[in-house]
């Protein structure tokens, strides 16, 4: 026999807090809907139109595969190159940004500087570089690099700060120089975290490189934009498939290699 269902009406502190948060969320939701003043689309014809477009996208036009392949290579190159360069640069700077191995003021300054860079979305950095350097993947690489660099400095410095202080003390006690301490105590402990962060960022960069093209940085985003704008859904569908596989492929690859096992890595972008 199941127990009778009861709802406790005792207002504990936590319950009030949770209820308050829920009410806030609901209010925010309603306010947002009002703010947006969404003009609801023109009825069911639009939905059926959308569905017919999607159906057209599913019949993919493989005929354009050569252009798409080159574009995909371009985008992947942008992502890979940006990740490699930003990893190298961030690796060196991160030691100065970690409070347990570097001067407090210096570390704070570097972190603040990188936070500022990180707060500007990647795409906007790419746009700035496009404005400065002109269209093309080169601007994309630099834009992506800038943001990745700032992100990885924060991530790596976090990993360095999580190193067991006892190991650092131990190596320091042997009279090692600063570089020797880094190499022998910090790097071995933080190495897996470094790799996980890099893998995570690389996954993200692959996704970003696809859309960089949508605003002028070349690559597969440009292909997508070109085909969609002329309503060529069959080709567009194929490009979307390629974009999906680029991102999905990297995800599967990293799952197999177990490079991104670090579950503490919640922050993105």
């Amino acid at each position: 026999m199941t127990a009778p269902k009861t709802i406790s009406l005792v207002f504990t502190g936590r319950k009030i807090l949770r209820l308050a948060v829920l009410i806030c969320v609901i209010i925010a939701f309603i306010l947002s809907l009002l703010q947006l003043r969404l003009e609801f689309f023109g009825g069911w014809e639009t939905i059926s139109k959308a569905l017919s477009f999607m159906r057209r996208m599913m019949t993919m036009n493989f005929g354009i595969w050569q252009d798409v392949l080159i574009a995909a290579l371009e985008s992947m190159s942008v992502a890979v190159l940006a990740t490699i360069i930003s990893t190298l640069c961030a690796f060196f700077l991160s030691f100065f940004a970690a409070v347990n191995v570097s001067h407090r003021g210096v570390a704070w300054f570097i972190k603040a500087f990188c936070s500022a860079i990180r707060a500007v979305p990647t795409l906007i950095w790419a746009l700035i570089f496009v404005a400065f350097l002109g269209f093309g993947p080169f601007a994309g690489v630099l834009g992506l690099f800038f943001h990745s660099f700032a992100y990885l400095v924060k991530a790596y410095s976090q990993a360095i700060e999580e190193v067991n202080p006892a190991s650092i003390e131990a190596v320091r006690a042997t009279g090692a120089s600063w570089i020797q301490i880094m190499a022998k105590a910090v790097v071995p402990s933080a190495r897996t975290a470094f790799i996980s962060w890099t893998a995570l960022r690389f996954e993200f960069n692959i996704g970003q490189s696809a859309i960089l093209g949508l605003v002028g940085a070349g690559g597969i985003g440009h292909e997508l934009s070109v085909h969609m704008r002329i309503f060529d859904f069959e080709s567009g569908g194929f490009v979307i498939l390629v974009i999906f596989f680029m991102s999905f492929g990297v995800e599967m690859l990293f799952n197999k290699l177990k490079l991104n096992q670090d579950k503490r890595l919640l922050k993105h972008d």
């Binding site: 959308a50 371009e74 190159s77 795409l123 906007i124 997508l224």
Partner: protein, 263 residues
Amino acid sequence: MRIKKAIPLTNSKRFYGWAAVALVIATTLVTGHFSSFNLPDAFAAVPGVIVFLANDFFPPNIGELPNILTPLLDTLAMAVVSTVIASCLSLVLAFLCAAPTTPHAAVRVVLRAFASALRNIPSLAWVMILVPAFGIGKFVGVLALIIGSLGSLTRFFTETIEEIDRGKIEAIRAAGGSYWQVLRNGVMPLCLPGFIAWMLYNFELDVRASSIIGMVGGGGIGFFIHSSLKLFKYANVATGILVVVLVVLIIEWTSKKIREALL
């Protein structure tokens, strides 16, 4: 005289170290070629951009702030609506998809593929897909955000459900709880902190995404930034960027506080 046995090259650890370095260098060269990377230009570009920013972007044009207010509120509103709606839908989907609570294995596979398809296509790409049918504007933006968030949240929620401590579920089941009682008293309380964390995280992602989908037709502040850039009104761009940065930082800070208070 003993002849030392030769160590095969691939047994040596140093070989792998140097092989990795060679691989990285080779990759850099290949990708550099495909992305038209120009090293001297790159070295000049980084300080060049900073000079460019300093000259053309500062001082930011404060006069534009009233014009930015509405798009900014739109951007935030889009993120809120998207996170709330996607969270509700994903909750249902996640329970259907997670290994301990799925009704059937086939459902699980189908839903995982579906969520994967949704989240591996960036939000901006979704905007490009939906614009031909729905036109440009905030509705398309919200729709694209919801679809993207649906994919991510379903995956995240599923992982949360699969990681809970099965022992407690067993205990409730052993005490005679029905399916719904197990769900309400066992699974939900265990999953709730994880769910809330992922929802907050998704909200941050959505704010970032919604601030840029305006660039391809999604409404919000992205449109302002993009059009100002095309019109070479860099001071306006600076204002737009500063506003976005401020909002993102505030939301990050608030989210951290909420996490500390609630979890």
